[in-house]
Symmetry: D2
Subunit: 151 residues, 4 copies
């Protein structure tokens, strides 16, 4: 059963509220671009504050938005009283990360009671052209409210 | 054959020079703590600019210093005319990243002509106590000067 | 430029010849089901010789066919004088592996001169129904003939 | 608190009993070599039934014993009424797998209530010499008896 329009709006608000509390995103220059059931997009603008030694965007910054895109994709399918934590991720860096901005798209592949498994892609966008530069797989944990954590 | 004292000093200078060009490190608040042949340590100070939504240090920041510790550990065993690029890494997040600072230690496990495989650990340090909070395995590529990249 | 029909037939023959030399496949009960440019399918029949302790197909058997599907997908895009070796893979096990047979589908995501990055899915098939039970990402190395290896 | 001698014997018996139910191990030619709290060793004898196309032991066979060494290392620290399932693993293949036999050593890095994270190494042994040929990190799930699974 797909979520209703109102439920979708609530899910999107929940993701955006939680994302707004991730201070690293403002530090790096990242924003939520889209929230759909089971899928979240995050965009990171190129800036000279997030680079590695050759002038590409650092793999860690790529991983940061890829991880959050996957984590929030997972949150969209979790119960309302759950919080999300990353337990592991693996990222393949396909090409140097350069361009006007990066777009990370995270998708839920398998939604379980305890774990949600996700797959994400990161694209470099330059003047309208788009090229995949990374692929991530990540396992997210469904953390109950009893933990004191909220999302 | 172990590198001589002078070679070790040159290797350490090479790592520190390259690290200084990684603008993301100043943005996040990370510094090189130690360089040894096949092993590099990076320290990240806790600050309210690098957090996720529950107040822990973001997994992406943990991954950033873990990746660079592994990458620079790999660089210490590469030829002088090579540059280093991460091709992939996988990180297991063992506990929430909180404390006064994080310390990432990267080590070379296997040094090949084309690829260098590394293993890293990240510790949270608080008032003298230390706890492992992440484990990373990463593959680094030996990039020849012909690419135009330098380290 | 897509390969011609004749080139496709040569690629398929090359994959099937190399696969026939993988003795573990006969031992486990696996066969090549399809070869397309950039994509290979391998099928593993359920048998009581490949199980783990709860009666599911062992994760290692799942990984074996997933790895080979990805490796041979990579081989389809490699030069004729190259051989393929797996440098790393990561597999997420989404559900217990049970059913009449497993089908692993490997696809090339990024084809480089030295490394080919792949993504694979494994499905359990039972009486016509199909369910994804694993996801793999793998890095394959393009090994030159100079190594003495052939595929 | 370390387990008593009697508890250690019970843990070892539990691992060996469960391993004996993994039919794939007899098919491949693998045996438990050692069980210690938090650490398990599995040995795989070279045979011409488990090879890839170049005559090396197939990465899938390497992964099979590495996964089980990690899984049973995890089982040694789990409650008596729990069963173990692999949720994910990543393996780096450091050198071709050839020799008289392989030895996989799995160790617990972090033991949680729901997940146990492990690190494993695989060595090729030939005429007394030993060389590391693979490294694995794996996440194991603690499955309650309510699931119907036993170990």
């Amino acid at each position: 059963m797909s979520p209703s329009t109102q439920e979708q709006a609530e899910i999107a608000a929940r993701v955006r509220d939680s994302f707004a509390r991730q201070s690293i995103m403002a530090t790096l220059g990242a924003e939520v671009a889209a929230v759909r059931p089971g899928e979240v997009e995050i965009v990171l603008l190129f800036s000279d504050r997030i680079l590695q030694q050759h002038g590409f965007i650092h793999a860690g910054a790529v991983a940061t938005i890829a991880d959050s895109a996957c984590g929030y994709a997972a949150l969209t399918v979790m119960p309302r009283d759950a919080a999300v934590l990353t337990t592991e991720f693996k990222i393949n860096l396909l090409s140097p990360a350069k361009g006007d901005r990066l777009r990370a798209v995270g998708r839920v592949i398998r939604s379980g009671k305890t774990l949600v498994v996700t797959l994400g892609e990161v694209f470099a966008e330059t003047a309208g052209a788009s090229k995949q530069i990374a692929m991530i797989t990540a396992t997210m944990m469904v953390v109950s409210t009893g933990s004191g954590l909220r999302d």
